[in-house]
Symmetry: none
Subunit: 231 residues, 2 copies
DNA sequence: CAGTCCAGTGACAGTTTCGTCACGGTTTTA
DNA sequence: TAAAACCGTGACGAAACTGTCACTGGACTG
């Protein structure tokens, strides 16, 4: 699944170059030239990472960074500041305001890409990179297979994604809202009852012929998945 | 709790400067001059972050980074590469090998510190509420779980909130009025007898099969919770 | 000691949350 | 193209939770 990147850059040529190169790496890129527009749309776009020019026409990148870091729903979003200002004080100020990295202009595109990837490597550890085993449940993304107790199960795409999300948050309670964001990243309008229905479908598939359900309902909060020991 | 930083640097003067400045920021710093020693000891030290010189006498920083990234127990450890080599290719190679950041020598110490902090901000997010242990009772908000003596208890939402409140005021007497404000923040009209009923429900859940009640009634004042030592 | 106050408790009706079913629409497969 | 698979949602009922009341026993006081 492609990470989404928002490029906030008022130089249209540079924005284009960056966009082209990041899309060539498989990222989904949105460019905005205007800091105010970025401020308005960031909550809706919910990018995984923002490349944020420090010098913007109507609101500075530093101010945007400061605002965004105070929004709980944007805490996981990485921010790389990009600027022609090479003063150390600005770098330190940017990093202290909450930027995850700071890249001076002019930069080499390969280095920018490498830094983007380094940030996203950390930002998306939740997606299992390889086979995951939790108790008697085993998920292998490479073969898109799920087994319980050694027996292969059939899951639809949505239930597969949901299981991935639960396994990535094993032992932790996950709210319906979080499940919506994680399983339906492009559909924030999904109804909470829909989550429950899909949890039910996942339970049905996982638990066929078994008495132990690894997914517990935490009333008023959400769901939690625990490993069930193999028999 | 102070984050631990391992500095792997063969220039003793530079190591000293870095150590001094990081310790002034409150970090616990270990310095090693030798890559082989670092490789041997990193698993035991388990630093939160390594400042890794690329050019080391007997094994390169790049090779160390590659090795460490393959050890699951070290995945959370941040790696910042530091080197006089300013070639972009090396930066990209370092970042792709698994470094989280790359700082060229000569660097400014404030910037290095800011980058260290930016990495640790991500590595150790300040959770507003963490796991609480009081005597034989353990509450974990992340998993929304309560255990007594290692055994998981089921609490309803109101009783969970009440326990949180008691644990946040451990050893102190809490009035019914305070409990109403803390457990029912949107219902100031809650009856005081209701508090008593819920305290009774919490006691029932906590104390099943036990003789010691961690919650004491302070007549005419309220309730106080004390840790009960594990058996 | 009797009277009063306070807190514990069982029970109940009402409210809230979640599980499930069924359906119509969309997408995928053969 | 038709059939199968998948999907999201509205409706309904089951299950869990909730706040209060009435009663009672224990603690406190004069």
């Amino acid at each position: 699944m492609a990470a989404t990147i928002l490029v906030v850059e008022d130089d249209p040529d540079l924005a284009q170059i960056v966009r082209y190169n990041l899309e060539a790496e498989g990222f989904a890129v949105t460019t905005l030239s205007d800091g105010a527009a970025a401020d308005t749309l960031v909550g809706a776009i919910r990018p995984d990472l923002v490349l944020l020019d420090l010098m913007l026409p109507n609101v500075s990148g530093l101010e945007l960074c400061r605002r965004w870091r105070q929004r709980p729903e944007l805490l996981d979003m990485r921010i790389i500041m990009v600027t022609a200002k090479s003063d150390t004080g600005d770098r330190v100020a940017g990093l202290e305001t909450g930027a995850d990295d700071y890249v001076p202009k002019p930069f080499s595109v390969p280095e920018l890409v490498a830094r983007v990837k380094a940030q996203l490597r950390r930002a998306q550890p939740d997606l299992p990179r390889g086979r995951v085993v939790a108790g008697d449940i085993e998920l292998d993304p490479a073969s898109h297979r799920v087994r319980r107790g050694g027996r292969e199960l059939h899951l639809g795409p949505t239930e597969f994604r949901m299981l991935e999300h639960f396994l990535a948050n094993l032992g932790r309670v996950v709210s319906r809202h979080q499940l919506i964001a994680g399983v339906w990243p492009r559909r924030p309008d999904i109804d909470a009852r829909t989550v429950d229905v899909h949890v039910g479908r996942l339970r049905k598939a996982l638990n066929a012929g078994r008495t132990q359900d690894p997914i517990q309902t935490v009333r008023g909060i959400g769901y939690r998945m625990d490993p069930v020991p193999p028999k």
